[in-house]
């Protein structure tokens, strides 16, 4: 009996504070930066009324109208590096302020790959449980070992096969959960080359969603704690904390739900993100914690992860 409790006692999962909703006000890539500050200003101007709508909607759902809404902004420093934090961050903040928007948290995209020594992308990769096509009996190694993840069955590959046997014929790919017809999605998760592994944009965006939902743990601990930056922003991206807390009175970074206000050019990326997220198995213990917190607040959360994520495409 001693040994039994000895084994089970060791697993302890930390729980973190949560807002009601985490609103992503934007996502900055090199091309946005190159287009100049006007583009950013226009984007914030378009976002502002949506944020207001979200705020009112949550206020009406919470007792005393005390909705906890945190806002965040993501800058790409993973696929291409441009400018410096000391130059870029004040520019973003100014553009936001001009539209009466407050950015609570600022995150670097590379944080979704690795932050504070924790390989977040790897945490999520190991938790992928691929959507099994009919006929999956469990003995084949998972298909995502190839770096691709689909929502169905791929077309058979021609070219292999045995000598003097009928050649493989083309067949249509099919979606596993199709309704009559298929919308087959196949997402590249990463590619490897001599410099190592590069995670794909949708994969990092999936990590980003899980981080905002507070569903990731590393050895039971919460990875990536937002940090305030004193005395100006650094001149190197590496010296900027993975997630910066810009507003000292902000509600928690992670939330029960997320809303991302994005340009329609991200539509395909987000379809890919949802394809990935619907195949991630989050730790049961963590899910239970979040559920019990929300029910303590008389809040009913959607059972499935992808239903806690919403978008406004502009």
């Amino acid at each position: 009996m001693t040994s039994f409790s000895e084994v089970t006692a060791e697993r302890q999962i930390k729980s973190g504070p949560l807002s009601h909703v985490s609103v992503e006000l934007g996502h900055l890539y090199m091309e946005d930066f190159q287009a100049g500050p006007d583009r950013l200003r226009r984007q914030f101007a378009a976002v502002a009324p949506w944020l207001e709508t979200v705020r009112r909607s949550w206020q009406s759902r919470t007792p005393g109208g005390r909705a906890r809404i945190s806002t965040c902004f993501l800058i790409d420093d993973y696929f291409s590096r441009f400018s410096t934090p000391s130059e870029l961050v004040p520019m973003i903040l100014t553009a936001a302020a001009e539209n009466d928007l407050v950015i609570d948290y600022l995150a670097r995209e590379s944080a979704c790959a690795e932050a504070d020594g924790v390989k977040l992308a790897k945490l999520v990769e190991d938790r992928l449980v691929p959507d099994p096509p009919p006929g999956t009996r469990g003995w084949r190694p998972p298909t995502h070992e190839t770096g691709w993840l689909a929502n169905g069955t791929r077309s058979p590959v021609a070219g292999s096969g045995q000598a003097m046997k009928t050649a493989v014929r083309w067949e249509a790919p099919t979606q596993n959960a199709k309704r009559g017809h298929s919308i087959f999605v196949d997402v590249e998760l990463w590619n490897d080359d001599s410099r190592g592994r590069t995670w794909s944009c949708p994969f990092l965006a999936a990590v980003w969603q899980l981080l905002r939902l507070g569903l990731l743990r590393n050895e039971g601990q919460l990875p990536v704690q937002p940090v305030a930056v004193d005395g100006g922003f650094p001149t190197s991206w590496d010296n900027l904390p993975p997630v910066v807390k810009l507003n000292s009175s902000a509600t928690p970074f992670s939330a029960y739900t997320t809303l991302s206000v994005l340009s329609t050019r991200f539509l395909q990326v987000e379809l890919a993100v949802r394809t990935i997220l619907s195949q991630v198995s989050v730790d049961e213990e963590v899910l239970k914690q979040v559920l019990s917190r929300s029910s303590d607040e008389d809040l009913r959360l959607e059972e499935e992860l992808v239903d806690r994520i919403s978008y406004v495409f502009l």
Partner: protein, 305 residues
């Protein structure tokens, strides 16, 4: 409705027992999760639980076409730094709809396989325990095998095991009822176990099945070594040399019921009455010790001769 699983047991492919500190590297199959360990009365380490998605026919004694969709829970464990187990199980339930739902629905129910359409629990259980042709139905054993293979591929292991051995396959089903246990030794490496327990199913039942599989493997493997040693047929030094790996590797691993929850201890005890695992083990151990003692004496006589 029905819980069923398969445990596969084999020898860890390393020349020596692996060190305590190596268990994390060998069993750490999920980033960000620690391998859990207990040290008393024997070192036991277990990987985090892992899920595998399935959508296939379930076994059926009446050959009914039963389609199930969901996830299998698996884990790998190492006992005494020597014996490796891969263990998988599912909880079979009736789905609310007769068509397949989006995958996120099933992921929200880890370890559950939902049947699309009608199903009879005993029919599936009997079909499962019958060991049909591999690969046609939900194949929990192969899932377990895969998680053993992943461990054996670890670069920490030198693949120089002290002797060759077979993996055993133990299939089990568990249901609620008057407590009881029924173990059957099948052909070759196949074994079945029916467990009836009081109250709700708990992972402690899986622990019981794994512990039984472990001791059945120890007994099976020791029996093979003794048979192959050709006591009385081969020369004394040959016999001693063939028995030596058993003494070095296996004899101290026998600890039946060490990790069993007290509520299930009575089930182990009934297995000790029939078929009487420990009795057979003891008699084998005594036979080995006697042989080695006799052979050593003979050797001493020759050298002093």
């Amino acid at each position: 409705m029905l819980i069923m699983g398969e445990v596969r047991t084999g020898l860890l492919q390393n020349s020596a027992e692996i060190e305590e500190r190596d268990h994390q590297a060998v069993l750490g199959l999920l980033a960000g999760e620690r391998v859990r360990m207990s040290r008393r009365p024997i070192v036991y380490a277990v990987s985090p639980d892992l899920l595998t998605g399935v959508d296939c026919r379930l076994p059926s004694a009446s050959r009914a076409r039963i389609r199930g969709v969901g996830t299998v829970v698996s884990r790998s464990s190492i006992t005494g730094g020597r014996v490796l187990q891969g263990s998988s199980y599912v909880r079979v339930t009736r789905g609310e709809v007769n068509y397949r739902l989006p995958w996120s629905h099933y992921l929200a129910r880890p370890g559950v396989v939902e049947v699309l359409g009608k199903v009879s629990g005993p029919d599936v259980a009997d079909g499962f325990l019958a060991f049909g042709a591999p690969g046609e139905h939900l194949d929990l054993g192969s899932v377990s095998d895969r998680f053993m293979d992943v461990v054996q591929e670890s670069p920490v292991l030198d693949l120089r095991a002290p002797f060759r051995s077979n993996r055993t396959r133990l299939r089990w089903v568990a249901e609620t009822g008057e407590p009881g246990v029924h173990f059957t030794l099948g052909e070759g490496q196949e074994r079945t176990l029916k467990v009836t327990h009081q109250g709700e199913f708990s992972p402690a039942v899986v622990d019981l099945c794994e512990d039984l599989a472990l001791h059945d493997w120890l007994l099976t493997t020791l029996l093979t070594i003794v048979q192959r040693a050709r006591i009385g047929g081969a020369s004394r030094p040959e016999v001693s040399a063939r028995l030596a790996p058993a003494v070095d590797t296996l004899l101290h691993l026998w600890m039946p019921g060490a990790r069993i929850h007290p509520s299930l201890a009575a089930l182990w005890e009934s297995l000790e009455r029939t078929p009487g695992f420990s009795r057979q083990w003891q008699s084998l151990v005594e036979r080995i010790r006697d042989q080695l003692a006799v052979n050593t004496l003979a050797l001493l006589r020759e050298t002093n001769g």
